[in-house]
């Protein structure tokens, strides 16, 4: 079988017939992967929901220790990064190769800012003794059981943070390929798939923010 029939055939793997077939397969694979991510986080959400219903007062009391302003800023940063990400995909589809690089770079910066703010939040929590599980040593709790809120806070934002880090790695990878000029309207699957992943990370934060910072 010949692969030279399609433009940019150098990216067509031997077992696919057309570039569209390859792109579709990639998308199906990515969506399936995203679903596994949803269910992975889903376990924590279910655990959180049930522990929160068993220890409602403790959870409400504990969440006052979180800084809403920082949480809000981080939400804005992440939403913006989703926008720059989708614009990178858009630019690839419309053959504006320079812009792809710029938008990917902006996304990477947003991700960095997000993690920076998380670092500030975490170090503040550590300082206060608001640590997960047995290391919890915060003084002056009014309701027993507040430590469990922070168990979930660290597990959920921690797992999310790991995903941000992973996202930054793959964004850096497509950024390199974009700079090399690999992407065009005929072939932009990697940007597209990384974009899907990044939006999912954003989507999970959309739920984490009200659940952790705004519960009553």
């Amino acid at each position: 079988m010949s692969t030279a029939a399609t433009p940019h055939g150098e990216f067509l793997q031997h077992h696919f017939t057309t570039a569209e077939q390859q792109a579709d397969a990639g998308k199906i694979g990515m969506w399936l992967f995203l679903v596994t991510e949803v269910l992975l986080f889903g376990g924590l959400f279910v655990g959180f929901a049930i522990m929160q219903s068993l220890h409602r007062e403790a959870f409400v009391a504990a969440h006052h220790q979180l800084d809403r302003v920082l949480g809000f800023i981080n939400t804005v940063v992440l939403l913006t990064s989703s926008y720059t990400m989708v614009m990178a995909v858009h630019s690839a589809r419309t053959d504006r190769r320079k812009r792809v690089v710029v938008y990917l770079l902006l996304t990477l910066i947003c991700a960095g800012v997000f993690l920076g703010i998380k670092y500030v939040e975490y170090s503040h929590k550590f300082h206060e003794g608001l640590l997960p599980g047995r290391y919890y040593s915060h003084k002056g709790d009014t309701v027993p059981g507040q430590f469990m809120f922070f168990s979930f806070y660290f597990m959920m934002t921690g797992l999310h943070g790991v995903h941000i880090l992973g996202g930054m790695a793959v964004i850096a990878w497509v950024l390199r390929r974009a700079a090399r000029g690999d992407f065009s309207h005929a072939y932009y699957t990697p940007v597209d798939l990384v974009g899907l992943y990044w939006h999912l990370v954003d989507l999970i934060w959309i739920y984490l923010f009200p659940l952790l910072y705004l519960i009553k």
Binding site: Q21, G43, M51, L54
Partner: protein
């Protein structure tokens, strides 16, 4: 003709970095067979220890570790990857007329992740092992000594391997079917694998997070499953069974898929009720997510949940029953020959029927309360998993063996071994139904004297079973030393995998196939479902 996939390219390195689904399938095959051997040795040790009450060959502590390792190895290292990742990997793209799976590199990654998970499991074994049972129930698992953290991490890693296989197969079935192969011209094996892959993708992440939570609980005491800290140990059981119940369908659906191939072939007759079998696979996958609570009828789960789960559990009996009846109807007025694959398929039918029917006892609330956590459950599970999945796996192994290696095995010894395995299996596990009904709890190191005769019976059965497998290992190994003489289609089967030489060339087909007829076209003068375009 160029060389076949076994010989070209040459060299160990070409195997280690291969992205060929056939080679990856073979590497999986030998890995899971090794896991089966290891799990089988633990099983034999358990049976010897149970020959008489009290201490025989090991202490209670060792016994607990041995049965945990038997369960964990058999489930996570053998039976979950057994059919999909080994036989499925090899056969599925061939059946669909594809050159490879959708993501060959992901496929290789899945294999190495499996190996990494296996290494973690072995590390857990040698660094103190695990005595929690394969179910890792809290708070036992969060308080006991041993390498629970390492073992749960191993299972977490193995989960990724399973997820990647599932993602790969779904994308492959969607996008890489040969021209002319619509959804309802697909072999039923592909339907079964598709349903399996759905469960792998949807359920496995939940066990992943559950096991991470156990590790968190052990390292940080996060509290979620710890009753002393306001957590809920029964919630752990919900988390665990939300995966582990669907997981038993990850194990049995591919087995059913193989039976749907073998029975029409050896009856030389069109499959009866193609659509019913195809849809029942999807139905099983769907309903499997709604029945997990039947593992928790006596756990302290609410009675409301008990009632709901009991009802939903009975619904899952229907699609399984539909399949069995369709397979039997396929044999009606067929031309049946009893080569080894068909012998195992018939073993499957009979043993799976018993496994399924005894499920009725465990789905009904009143009888389950009595039988829960007894040997009745152990026997039921082994009838479905070993009598079902393993028999189907052996059926598929013998069916596709000539395709994989280009060599036939000794049919005579295959029949001897099939007979020994069938008899040995029944002796081993039928007695356990009686033990369980009479009140013998599972996971017991020692037992009351009254149970001894049946335990002896069961142990002797396990020796017959072991002998059967020993013979199989010998004749299969011997077949590999013979010259490659298997014809392309030794069984006269339809299906694209038989349209290419045995063993197949590196890229599967000399010419890309296209499909013009339905599968299982055995009733036509020419037993072929596809014409290979010149």
């Amino acid at each position: 003709m160029t060389g076949n996939y076994l010989s070209s390219p040459r060299g160990l390195k070409s195997w280690l970095i291969t992205v060929d689904h056939k080679r990856i399938g073979l590497m999986y095959l030998f890995s899971v067979l090794f896991a089966f051997l290891l799990g089988g040795i633990f099983a034999m040790l358990i049976r010897i220890e149970l020959l008489k009450p009290g201490h025989n060959i090991m202490s209670a502590d060792t016994y607990n570790r041995v049965f945990t390792l038997h369960g964990a190895i058999m489930i996570f290292l053998f039976i979950i990857p057994s059919i999909p990742a080994s036989l499925g990997n090899f056969v599925l793209p061939l059946m669909l007329g594809a050159k490879d799976v959708a993501f060959p590199r992901l496929n290789l990654a899945s294999y190495y992740i499996y190996v990494a998970g296996a290494l973690f499991a072995i590390a857990a074994m040698v660094t103190g092992a695990v005595d929690t049972g394969w179910t890792f129930y809290t708070p036992y698992s969060t308080t006991t000594n041993g390498s629970v953290g390492l073992m749960t991490f191993a299972v977490f890693v193995l989960g990724f391997s399973s997820i990647f296989t599932g993602i790969n197969f779904i994308a492959t079935i969607h996008k890489l079917r040969a021209p002319g192969m619509g959804w309802f011209r697909m072999p039923l094996f592909a339907w079964g694998i598709y349903a399996t892959a759905i469960i792998q993708v949807l359920a496995t992440p939940v066990i992943g997070i559950t096991l991470l939570l156990i590790i968190m609980e052990r390292v940080f005491s996060v509290g979620i499953f710890n009753p002393q800290l306001g957590g809920d140990p029964i919630l752990f059981q919900h988390f665990f069974w939300f995966y582990s119940h669907p997981a038993v369908y990850i194990m049995i659906l591919p087995g059913m898929a193989i039976i749907s191939e073998v029975i029409p072939c050896f009856s030389r007759k069109t499959i009866f009720g193609y659509k019913a079998i195809a849809y029942s696979s999807i139905a099983i996958a769907g309903v499997s997510f709604l029945v997990w609570g039947h593992h928790m009828f006596v756990s302290g789960q609410s009675q409301l949940a008990n009632a709901i789960f009991s009802f939903l559990t009975f619904l899952v009996a229907i699609p399984s029953g539909v399949k069995v009846f369709n397979w039997i109807a396929t044999m009606y007025r067929g031309s049946i020959s009893l080569e080894a694959p068909m012998l195992y398929a018939i073993s499957f039918l009979l043993l799976f029927a018993i496994g399924g029917l005894t499920g009725l006892f465990l789905g009904a609330l009143a009888t389950d309360v009595h039988l829960h956590d007894t040997y009745f459950v152990v026997a039921h599970f082994h009838f479905v998993m070993m009598g079902g999945t393993v028999m189907a796996f052996l059926s598929g192994l013998h069916y596709w063996w000539p395709k994989m290696f280009g060599r036939m095995y000794s049919e005579k010894w295959a029949r001897v071994s099939a007979a020994l395995i069938f008899v040995g299996f029944n002796v081993t596990f039928l007695s356990q139904f009686v033990l369980g009904s009479r009140g013998m709890p599972r996971r017991y190191y020692s037992y009351l004297d009254q149970f001894q005769p049946l335990h002896v019976f069961s142990t002797v059965g396990s020796w017959v079973l072991g002998l059967g497998f020993l013979i199989m290992a010998v004749y299969l190994w011997a077949s590999l030393r013979r010259p490659m003489d298997a014809p392309a289609n030794p069984w006269g089967a339809t299906g694209l995998e038989w349209q290419t030489p045995s063993p197949p060339p590196e890229h599967n087909f000399e010419n890309a196939p296209s499909v013009t007829r339905g599968p299982y076209d055995y009733s036509s003068p020419e037993p072929t479902s596809a014409e290979v375009e010149a």
